[in-house]
């Protein structure tokens, strides 16, 4: 009967939590919903939020107040019920806060900076719950501040500094649950005027939290090694095997050293020692529920130790969790997921600039140009997409090098440029050279007439000319010119005069206005394209003499340095900035936080949500942003892949 009553009480307290979360504004509610699942995945045996911290696999984060009040024989009644209820909610909020803060610190996870408001809310609300049961003038609040300050110091500590200054394993053992456990316990004791036992209770809970942290750190050993983070077991193994902690050892070395030195046993025994100390305090204070819990935990840890070292476990018991959880390096996994997404549809149809607002009097008109950019990226990363390139080039030829798939669409430099850049990557190139000869002659005429590379070409054979003012948007875009030149400079048939005229005009413009020479693309994307072109034009085998390459590079370098000093909030912006730094040979400017920023925004299907990339005509003679999940994914993939040589963060 007592168990049934306990269960009803717990259920009622969870309803309090649910009601609190349900009342949150939508943005915070969405974050809390993910947080519930994150907590359930990590701390619930059944994967249910209401079961978190209910098994002996984790410290009793949500049970402290109830157990203390019961063990101290506080008489049941409204006051005790109110104290238990408020402190249960505070415990859940603090556990949620721990999970969020740890998520923010995890470069391989998905907790993004916008959760700061949630951390603030969780902290404030937990304090408010405690304030409902602890008198304002209680000395508890001084202790509360001290523990909160200690926890803040833990979070703010620079792990590199700690690793560099201490090889003592104890210096690396800090449980994120130690502070919440102690805060709630102290609040419960203050509420019933039993602060006399507070120091011993805090000591007991600190020992319990640390014991569980040792096992948690052992389980996270491979992941921590991949992240370059030093934990208690890593420092322990390194000291036993005399392996230096800096520079960070390779994961396999520490894992192997763990085996060779037999470190699993002393590491787990150190956790058992902490549990024994905690049990001693529980017995001393006559906290029978805590003593029983710790006693069970000791038996559980001993069973795990036997299974991990001897290789057997007692029959009838559940198979023990692994000592060290497997961990896949985040970056290689993220790249694999992105490739899977990018190659799922060989037509890349989602990336097509598809118009249904009545362009050219048609219900549907499309440009496949963005698919060409995606193919180019996939090729750069060494994927064999020759067959897909053949199909793209065949369509471009059949469509007469028009931007849209309609006879009245204009022929444009972007389409010719991507055709020329992809042509060497196709299975056969001669037929494409023949197919492009007429449009290249037309291009030459246009460039010579205008003295620069136009976005839209006029007078090409077979083209009916653009009759829509909407289609002719974006004239004078330097990025389109650069796109074309990147293909034209490398083309086998000589186009020296066209290159000379077009490139010189573009260089003059960049030298004069910098990245403002771009019209149609995100400026950060344009920076990358311009730097790529400058590198090509600066090569010794370029057959044309150009002036102002250095001047243009200086102008763009100033823009790049300005751009890196501003915070990049969207994944695509961060990716474009990484790409621009690579194209400028300024990898030194890349902030290690940018790839993390990109990684945290990858979706479960391997994609990144499409972000604005170019302006596109829309209904009502208006313009809105073109965005594509495939194109944004390709850009993020490209940016991450270029940094793949560095040390990848990890995920579990």
């Amino acid at each position: 009967m007592e168990l049934e009553a306990d269960s009803k009480l717990t259920s009622r307290r969870w309803h309090d939590v649910d009601r609190l979360f349900a009342g949150l504004p939508p943005a915070l509610f969405r974050q809390v919903k993910l947080l519930e699942y994150d907590l359930a995945l990590r701390y619930s045996p059944a994967g249910q939020f209401h079961d978190i911290f209910s098994s002996p696999d984790h410290p009793p984060v949500l049970s402290v107040a109830r157990w203390l009040l019961r063990d101290l024989e506080i008489p049941p009644g409204a006051t005790r019920d109110e104290t238990e209820s408020r402190l249960f909610v505070a415990s859940v909020l603090m556990a949620a806060r721990v999970q969020t803060v740890e998520g923010l610190r995890d470069p391989g996870g998905f907790t993004t900076d916008d959760r700061i408001a949630l951390v603030q809310w969780l902290s404030d609300r937990a304090s408010a719950e405690i304030a409902r049961v602890v008198p304002r003038d209680s000395s508890f609040w001084d202790e509360f501040e001290a523990v909160a300050g200690e926890d803040a110091t833990r979070v703010a500590a620079d792990p590199d500094f700690a690793a560099a200054t201490s090889d003592d394993p104890e210096a690396h053992l800090v449980s994120p649950f130690s502070a919440p456990l102690r805060m709630v316990a102290l609040a419960a004791l203050a509420a019933v005027d039993r602060l006399d036992v507070a120091p011993r209770v805090a000591d007991m809970l600190g020992q319990i939290a640390d014991a569980y942290q040792v096992i948690a750190d052992l389980a996270a050993l491979q992941r921590d090694l991949q992240r370059g983070r030093t934990s208690y077991p890593i420092a322990f193994i390194a000291r036993s095997a005399r392996v230096p902690l800096r520079p960070a050892p390779r994961p396999e070395v520490i894992l192997g050293a763990m085996v060779a030195t037999g470190s699993v046993r002393p590491i787990v025994e150190s956790a058992l020692g902490r549990l024994r100390m905690a049990r001693g305090i529980a017995i001393e204070l006559r906290l029978s529920t805590f003593a029983a819990f710790v006693s069970n935990a000791e038996a559980d840890f001993e069973a795990r130790l036997a299974s991990w070292t001897v290789g057997s476990f007692a029959s009838g018991l559940a198979r023990p969790a692994p000592a060290v959880r497997p961990s896949t390096p985040t970056l290689s996994q993220a790249l694999g997921m992105a490739e899977g997404f990018l190659l799922a549809d060989p037509t890349f149809r989602e990336s097509w600039e598809m118009h249904r607002e009545g362009m050219l009097g048609q219900p549907e008109v499309a440009s496949r140009f963005p698919a060409g950019l995606i193919l180019e990226i996939l090729c750069r990363r060494g994927l064999d997409v020759r067959r897909l390139i053949d199909e793209f080039l065949n369509f471009t030829v059949v469509n007469g090098f028009r931007y849209y798939d309609h006879p009245r669409s204009g022929v444009d430099s972007d389409t010719i440029g991507v055709f020329l850049r992809l042509r060497p990557l196709a299975t056969g190139t001669r037929e494409y050279d023949r197919a492009a000869s007429a449009v290249l002659e037309c291009l030459e005429r246009n460039v010579h007439e205008a003295g620069a590379i136009p976005v839209w070409l006029s007078g090409c054979a077979g083209a009916q000319g653009s009759e829509s003012a909407v289609i002719a948007l974006g004239e004078g875009c330097g990025t389109v010119a650069a796109h074309l030149l990147l293909g034209l400079v490398a083309a086998p048939v000589e186009h020296e005069r066209t290159v000379a005229l077009g490139a010189q005009s573009l260089l003059d413009r960049i030298g004069s206005v910098g990245v403002a020479a771009n019209v149609n693309y995100p400026p950060l994307y344009a920076l990358g394209v311009f730097f790529r072109l400058l590198r090509l034009l600066d090569a010794p085998d370029v057959p044309v003499a150009l002036e102002g390459v250095g001047h243009a590079r200086e102008a763009l370098a100033r823009e790049l340095e300005r751009a890196v000093s501003t915070s990049q909030m969207a994944a695509q912006d961060a990716a474009l900035l990484i790409l621009a730094c690579h194209e400028a040979n300024r990898e030194d400017l890349i902030d290690p936080a940018w790839p993390v920023h990109v990684l945290k925004r990858q979706r479960f299907d391997g994609s990144w949500i499409g972000e604005p990339f170019a302006a596109a005509p829309n209904r009502g003679r208006s313009v809105s942003w073109y965005s594509s999940t495939l194109l944004t994914t390709a850009l993020c993939y490209d940016a991450l892949a270029r940094g793949a040589k560095g040390q990848p963060p990890a995920t579990d």
Partner: protein, 72 residues
């Protein structure tokens, strides 16, 4: 062994890579597996390796390096 870190890396790889572990346990493939990591399969090395095999098996047999089950 002159270079402990090479030997540690060998054991670490055996722990996290089931295929490599199987190669190490197969006497026909053992030398090849060791040479893959630049380790000469001397008697001393083989002795040290054998002394660690039980510990590796004990750790690896507990689903330690199996895929994490999907959660729905």
């Amino acid at each position: 062994m002159d270079d402990d870190s090479k030997f540690y890396a060998l054991l670490g790889r055996a722990l996290i890579d089931p295929e490599f572990r199987a190669q190490l346990l197969d006497t026909d493939q053992q030398s090849e597996a060791l040479e893959k990591l630049g380790i000469v399969p001397s008697d001393e090395v083989l002795e040290e390796l054998n002394a660690s095999i039980h510990a590796i098996n004990a750790l690896a047999s507990h689903e330690a390096f199996a895929p994490i089950p999907a959660v729905t």
